[in-house]
Amino acid sequence: MPALSRRAFLQSSAATATLAVAISATPFVIAQDSQSSGGHVTPCLRIDADGNITLCVPIPDMGQGMETTAAQMIADELNVNLDDVSVELMPFLGTVNDGGRAVFGRFYQGGGGSGSTMRIWHEIRGTAAYARALLLEAASRRWQTVRSGLVAREGAVFNPASGQSLPYGDLVPHTAGISDISEAGMKPKTANERTIVGADARNVHSRAIVTGKPLFGIDAEIPDMLHAAIRRCPHLNGRVISFDDTAARQIQGVIDIIPVDRIPEDTAQWRSVAAGLAVVAESYWAARKGAEALEVTWDETVSTGDDTGLLREKCLAALDGDGMTTSIEAGDLDAAFSEASHSIEATYFHPHWAHTCIEPHSCIAHVKDDEAEIWVGHQFMNSAINGVKDATGIAPEKVKANFYRMGTGFGRKAENDFIIEAAILSKATGRAVKVTWTREDEMEQDYVNQLAAYKLRAAVGQNGAISAWHLKAAADTTPAVVTREFPARLIDTYKTEYERVPNGVTRGAWRGPHHNVIAWVIQSFLDEVAVETGQDRLEALLSLYDRKTALKSLNWPNRDITFDRFRGVLRKAAEEAGFGKSMPDGWGQGIAVHHTFVSVCAHVVDVQMTGDRDYRVHKVTSAIDCGLVVNPLGVRAQVESGIMDGLCAAKYGKWILDKGLVTTNNFDTYQKMRINEAPSEINVHLLDFGDEEPRGTGEVSLPPVIPALTNAIFAASGKRIRELPISENL
């Protein structure tokens, strides 16, 4: 890509500084541009003229704490105290690939797959260590002394021999032009040199949050922008047949009504943008009123077969049909079942879940002839920029993107529909346009978690151990992940099958995709088997995960799984919770374990039945192995968060399609837990298996909490939950 456009590209920034960087020959290091560093010493450190230090982090924060985690890594290398510095988001520092798409450069700049921490672990520390080396080198040149005798600490370089010191800010201009730092001089710290990585750090933006600073995408505004509210077709895959905008146009402040077509046009393909009518106005309120005043006739016929009840029946029927595809198998299944002393079978089902991101989506776009700018909260910087290209044809090098904090994302803010809409409307009006979604939009136009049914069979031998495993899954997506999951392969004789039931529902990543529901199906069924065969539930799990030492996971990201970690988190959670202790009538404990991506987590849930159809979760005891822990306080926050999210989705999660019409479109029809249902005690234990690298946390605690809950409900009430949500099936 040509140098000039690359420069322009790199200037996209939520910060005001113009940053141009050159990639040095040294791996994982990006040096500052000597011409216009804007106070930058590498992209991760900026110091203003008054000496104020800002750490620049590569990955947007949606509550997972990445800005704090990344700031810890940088602060540790630079020996600065997090309380003494500011933290801001870097601009996109990627490039454009041969296909004309924006791609990440040195830094991974997205939030997903619980992978952010591990994906920047080397790059960000290496870059910060390089910044430290540059500051030390600059001081050594100033003092004409050797660099190895100098110390960087508390935001300054000290010379112990002479007692001199220079704040980093004074050294910034002198770092320009230094290009001969040896690789040894810029090594990140070793584990025992680190003081900030591994220690508790509070959310670096807490003060701004509790004082109401405008940090979020929805808070962004630019001079002279217009507002748009889009009346989107509430019928799945529907479109506008006709409309009357007379009343809407009479509302003061309304400027224009612009039809937005479905993208793609072919309704057999997944929706990328919903059909609707955009009301463009001087103010958001006028746009909203205008949208409500539109009289629209919708084509509601396209997806009437996409109905929660119908889809449920289709999936259940598919389990016994002949449309299944074999995923993996080994051993002689039929022989194992006929030889078994016992065989156990159960059917499970769960409906769709909506994301309900607390911050409704929004985006400002300003599209000009051959360049564009956006202001948005989005999980993936590269993808957001590509969204503008898709909407306008403008090359990524010509897109300036300003990224903001997100009021949760959960996978939904990885989609581009709100960006594409803003870009289309800006192009149509020739003005900057801010599109703001309502809650109803956010839920009606969601990319939901899948709906699925499962049939599981276990053959059990004399000793109570499972000798064969048979799992079938039918879903409105291809449910292959569950078929590749353990205990298949831990048990030597197995067969797993799946079928995708045709449908028009748009689905997407929902915190812990697939894992969020399959942990429940598998761990609940294992609990059933243990109970039915009279085994101790914990011992049954421990011996299952003791059958093999390690296996390569067949699910993304295909890492080697060592089962001592499963046993380790199970034992720790059980021990800390006093699992198996005697409890009063109507109380019970449940235990479950699951690995999501690379990390593994176990929970024990303590519940009390409060009547026949309800319960209260009193306590959750958790043990997680997420590799090296950068921020213990932050990991605990994420585990607590996943626990709440899982308990809530399991109890209430049900996004309902009534013949293609979403009927659960706000918090009055889609219930969420509040503080009164939150466990009053959560104890999180972080296990150390000696890893030298992080493994990821944000999605990991959610999957196993659902089976731990339903297993606890069984222990407390004798009722086995095989269909979600629990609130409708207890």
Binding site: S206, I209, P214, F216, R405, R439, E640, M644, K672, I675
Partner: protein, 154 residues
């Protein structure tokens, strides 16, 4: 019709669409983005502000009803640089994850503690009904109790 009221001690008047909820006046006209939009139907509490000292959900308060009202938003809670004890407690307990709901949680808590200075768990369960999608409830409960203690000893 023109209504006049104060926001964080500053007099303001309004003669626009009287059906408009206070939330949008705060966010789009008064430049106060701390009050958040979450549902628009009074369910989530992200838009909580104080109206004459009481917690209200500003998405459900029409501008027409505000003549003579005194409104406090999250931006008006700290006095100069000194944070309110509830804000302090939120930082101490490291409550915020994404942070989007927290202005509403804090405003709800400040009003709640005025009526219930020494809350039990049950008081908290019935008195605080705001939604947090990040599930920070465990820490919110601790922060409410911490703030209650701090305010009683102040």
């Amino acid at each position: 019709m023109s209504v006049s009221f104060t926001i964080n001690g500053t007099r303001r008047s309004f003669d626009g669409d009287e059906e408009m909820p206070l939330l949008w006046h705060l966010r789009e006209e008064a430049g106060l983005k701390g009050t958040k939009f979450g549902c628009g139907i009074g369910q989530c509490g992200a838009c909580t502000v104080h109206l004459d000292g009481e917690a209200v959900r500003s998405c459900s308060v029409p501008m027409a009803s505000l003549d003579g009202a005194n409104i406090t938003t999250i931006e008006g809670l700290a006095e100069d640089d000194a944070l309110h004890p509830v804000q302090e407690a939120w930082i101490e307990e490291d409550v915020p994850q994404c942070g989007y709901c927290q202005a509403g949680q804090i405003m709800a808590t400040v009003a709640f503690l005025k009526d219930t200075p020494n809350p039990t768990d049950e008081d908290i369960n019935t008195g605080i009904t705001n939604l947090c999608r990040c599930g920070t409830y465990y820490r919110i409960r601790k922060a409410i109790k911490r703030a209650a203690v701090a305010m009683q000893s102040a």
